[in-house]
Structures are given as C-alpha cells and as structure tokens.
C-alpha cells in the first residue's frame, strides 16, 4: 500500500519539496537535465511499466507519449488533467494536496520526452486548497532551479503554470479542457485531428491525468519492471481507489492492481453498520453498475473489472447497501449528465434531458408501462452517436441499472413509489 503517489503521505508536511526530495524526488529530472536519459529510454521504461492512463480510458501512457511529433518544429505543450469531476472520483485532489511535486516532476519528464517547453495543469475551479498547494510547490520548484528557461544550463526549458476551471464537468474531456484553457466554453472538439497533432492553441499537445503524471517519477526511479510487478498482467502498478458510499471508512487507497474487491472493501472498514452490500459502481458514475455477487468475485484491475461487466474508469468505487433505491440513484446520475452536457451535439443535448425527465416522472409516481423500453431506446440512440464520450457515459448507467435492477423500476412505475424505501 501507498508505494507510489502516496508514498510520503504519512509524513508531516508531506507535500514539501524537502520531503519529496528525501525519497528520491527530482533525481530523475536532475538526471535528465544532465543529459543522462533519452526520450526513447523513458518511453521504453513507461511501456515496460504497463502504466495506463488514470483519467478513465486506461490508454497506455508510454504509447501515448510515443505519438507526439516531438521533432516537429514549433511550440508543443504538455497538459495535466486535474479537472476531476466524475461522481465518485476524488483522488487527484489528494495527489495535488499531498504530493504536488510528483505531478510537477512527472510533467517535467513528459515535457522532455515530448519536447514541450510549456505545460499547464488544469485544476478544477473548486479545488482552491489543492490549487494553492500546487502553486506553492511550483514556487518551490522554480526557486530550487528545477523549472524555467535553460534549467541548470541544460539547454532545457520548461515553464509550468496552473489554469483554474470554473465549474464544468465536461472540461475533464481532454479537448474540452484545451478549449477551456483557450478561454472558451468547454466544448469537446471533434477528432481527428487529435491533440497530439492539433492541440492547445493549435499546437501538438499531450494530455494526461494527474495520477498518470504522478506515477512517472517513481517508475523512472525504480524501473518500469518494478512498477509492472506491483500490479498484475495488463494492469501494472498501484492504483488509487476512491471508496465512497455505504462503507465504514470511506477513503482513497493506493493498492496494487489486482487486489480482490473484497479486500478493498475490508480496507474501507467493510459495510457501514454491517449492512448488506447491494451494488457497486466500480469506476465512477460513467461505468456500469454491478450487483453484489458479481462485485464480490471481482479483482480490481482493468481485466478483472472488465470481466465483471464494467470498467475500472478512474478507480472510483461507489458502494451501495440494500437501503439504496436504485431508481433514485439512477435518477441522480441522470440529472448529473443532464446538467453537465455541454449542449453542442444533438444526441447528448436532447437525450440527457429526455432520460432525466422520464426518470424524474417515474420518481414522481407518473411512470408509464413502456417507460423502461423508452429509457433503453433513448440511451441506445445516444450511445456512440456523440462527439465525445459524455454521451456514452450518460447512456451506460441507464442500461446497466435497468439490466441489473429492472424489477425496482417496474415496481416504481407500477406502484408509484420505491420498492426499497416505500
């Protein structure tokens, strides 16, 4: 536990530069500044590590970094996605608060690989405390001569800034995030072109999640194989899981990939008040919900959760006990996507509102017999037809809630009240 992003978490002032450096922090960056690494070596090490993007999609980070046209002329950018807003997810906030230098060093290493001399960390607007922490760390790093122009006479430039959001979940989508840094509404761009070719201010850009960046320094420090061995096949390393909901001690846990869900639940103190587990959303609100039985048999890694019929996503484990009304839970999620749709593309703009309104009507006791088919039909029409994955994210819970807990919806429609809460 707590071997990578959280390795200093028990120390007093664990976010300080001194604490970070005491456990090898910035030694990789210093080596890079001395010319002891090539970009290819770093990419190779990352590929060995099996690190997959921690922002939700799980795309192999080493591979992503190899896509950047590092030798193309002109400015290139590196961007960190700390917009964390997916319901259930709250790990990046803690990385920023407790280990900001790992993010800075991870981005610095990335900037060298990608030949990007400027970076931005996009921090969600509400995260003022994490923002201040990160700014404090930036100041320390600049003062220590670790950032800036021609750092330590290395000929390497890297300037890093933070950009604050202003309240829009969609800005977590990487191209919406770029639009937002450009001072526009956070509306996702259509792809192609991909950010690696046309990104921030039209220049090649690499975007990674906070946790992905924060994992890089230790991978380089201890070797890709070391990281890979922390986890299981296809899911290298440790991962932060945010366990929330009906557990005794909700918290962020950094554990090895492949840990059985059962153990993770125990780490969180088990079910609150000894209640019975009913359902688990394993990767954040956009991932399909699982029944207790399926969840209890699952391991916490990409393949394990995939096999169970859901996705690891951002590692946001939402635990629901048997007092939970699944109609109410889905309605709440549907409201979220309805509220957060950026509105530019038709299926998402119109479809999320439709889903929410039908669910709301059911909750108001005005459900109709064919509402379940209607919901399934509408989510199917959103799925795959939108510019970005928010549409899919809105659709997926509807399908999985109705598949796994259909009788609760039928009951609500028929009786006009919740099967669980009465």
């Amino acid at each position: 536990m707590n071997e990578v992003c959280f390795k200093n978490i028990d120390k007093d002032q664990c976010w300080s530069l001194a604490n970070y450096e005491a456990t090898g922090g910035y030694s990789v960056w210093r080596k890079i500044l001395k010319g002891e690494y090539t970009p290819e070596q770093i990419i190779a090490e990352l590929k060995t590590s099996g690190l997959r993007g921690r922002g939700g999609a799980g795309f192999p980070t080493g591979l992503k970094w190899s896509f950047m046209p590092r030798n193309a002329p002109g400015q290139k950018y590196i961007v960190c996605n700390s917009d964390e807003g997916e319901p259930g997810t709250c790990k990046d906030r803690d990385i920023l608060r407790f280990n900001p230098h790992a993010v800075i060093e991870g981005m610095a290493i990335g900037s060298f690989v990608m030949n990007a001399t400027v970076g931005y960390n996009y921090i969600r607007g509400e995260f003022i405390e994490p923002f201040n922490r990160f700014e404090g760390a930036l100041k320390e790093a600049y003062e220590a001569g670790l950032l800036g122009k021609d750092i330590n006479d290395s000929g390497i430039d890297f300037d890093l800034y933070s950009h604050l959001g202003a309240g829009a979940y969609i800005c977590g989508e990487e191209t919406a995030l770029l639009e937002s840094i450009e001072g526009k509404k956070g509306q996702p761009r259509f792809k192609p072109p991909f950010p690696a070719n046309v990104g921030l201010f039209g220049k090649p850009t690499t975007i990674n999640n906070t946790e992905s960046f924060a994992s890089v320094p230790d991978i380089m420090l201890n070797g890709g194989q070391w990281f890979a061995d922390l986890g299981v096949e296809n899911s290298g390393g440790t991962k932060l899981f945010s366990v929330s909901g009906h557990v005794t001690s909700p918290a962020n846990f950094e554990v090895s990939m492949g840990m059985p869900f059962k153990e993770l639940l125990e780490l969180a103190g088990g079910m609150r008040n000894g209640a019975k587990l009913k359902a688990v959303i394993p990767g954040g609100s956009s991932t399909p919900v699982l029944t207790a039985e399926v969840a209890m048999a699952m391991t916490m890694d990409y393949d394990g959760i995939d096999k169970a019929g859901s996705m690891l996503g951002a590692g946001s484990v939402i635990i629901m006990d048997d007092s939970t009304c699944m109609v109410e839970a889905l309605t709440r999620l549907a409201h979220f996507y309805y509220d957060e749709s950026c509105g530019q593309c038709t299926p998402c703009r119109e479809g999320t509102g439709w889903l929410y309104r039908v669910l709301k009507r059911i909750m108001d006791g005005k459900g109709k017999a064919d509402d379940i088919d209607l919901l399934l039909g509408v989510q199917e029409k959103i799925m795959g037809n939108t510019i970005c994955a928010l549409g899919d994210a809105a659709a997926m819970p509807v399908e999985s809630f109705l598949r796994n807990f259909r009788e609760e919806f039928e009951y609500y429609i028929e009786h006009g009240k919740s099967m669980v809460k009465g």
């Binding site: 400015q75 509400e126 003022i128 202003a166 001072g183 201010f201 909700p250």
Partner: protein, 157 residues
C-alpha cells in the same frame, strides 16, 4: 468598471499564456470581477472583461454562462454549495439539505433575508470520500452531520 487591483490580478493570469492569447485569462478575469461585485456578474461587467481582454462581448458571455461558478442572479455573501451527487446522496446529503433549508428558512437557490447566505445544490465536488460535504468560499467542509452543519453555518458572519 474594473478596479486597478482586479486588473493586477487579471494581468498575472494573462502572463501565463502566450502573447496574444490573453483571452485564456477570461475565466479568472470573470471570477475576479465577480468577487468585487457582490459575487454577481452582469452585462456591463462581462463587456468590461471582454474589452479588457480584447475579445468579443458575446465570447465572454458564452464563457460566463457556460461555467457553473458564475452568478447572474443575486446570491448571499456566503454561498453554501451543497453536493447532492451520488456519494453524498448515499450518505445523507438530502436530509442535511432539508435541515439547512429549514434552519435558514430558504429553499435552495434562494438568499436569506439578511443577504448573508444562499444555498445551492451542486454536482460532485470531487470529495466523495468525505461525503456528505459542501463548499463555502474556498473551503470544503466534509463528513458533515447536522451538528457540524449547524456549527459551521452559525459561524458565518
């Protein structure tokens, strides 16, 4: 329309972006100006920000109406932004919100008579392991209970 102090803050944001990309600072500029004007934006303030950043008024208005952190109607001196998304819901946020509404005598979206407090239901604030939670100003308050809510709210001046 924009105070010198606000301009200074905005300028420090502009400095982060490439030459000619000053409109990248619009989100912060709007926040700075909002903070100086009773936590609320209006047409003229948005135009003033747009002018300062040399961008079309409508482009600034698009930003000001897209993001959730800008207010276009009167709000309290303190805005209690109560998360009601899934993890908070599971841990009792709805009851706490009702409690707060009764205590303050306002519904969500309204401002107390003395103008001190308004309550707003918001989507996930990224503190799910501390649910239920709310935000007031820059501060997060987590693992809330009725007593804790009372104590925090009673302390607002």
């Amino acid at each position: 329309m924009i105070s010198d102090n606000a301009k200074k803050q905005i300028d420090s944001w502009i400095a982060k972006y490439p030459q000619g990309k000053q409109s990248s600072a619009v989100m912060e500029a709007l926040k700075v100006v909002q903070a100086e004007n009773n936590n609320q934006l209006n047409h003229d303030l948005i135009q003033a920000v747009a002018d300062y950043l040399d961008m079309p008024g409508i482009a600034a208005a698009e930003v000001a109406t897209f993001y959730e952190n800008y207010n276009h109607k009167p709000v309290g001196k303190h805005i209690i932004r109560f998360c009601h998304n899934i993890s908070c819901m599971l841990t009792g946020a709805d009851d706490l919100i009702s409690h707060l509404e009764t205590k303050l005598g306002v519904k969500t979206g309204e401002v107390t008579k003395d103008g001190l407090i308004s309550v707003k239901k918001v989507e996930c604030l990224g503190a799910c392991v501390g649910a239920p939670m709310f935000q007031i100003g820059d501060q997060y308050y987590e693992n809330l209970t009725t007593d804790k809510v009372d104590e925090i709210v009673d302390g607002l001046k």
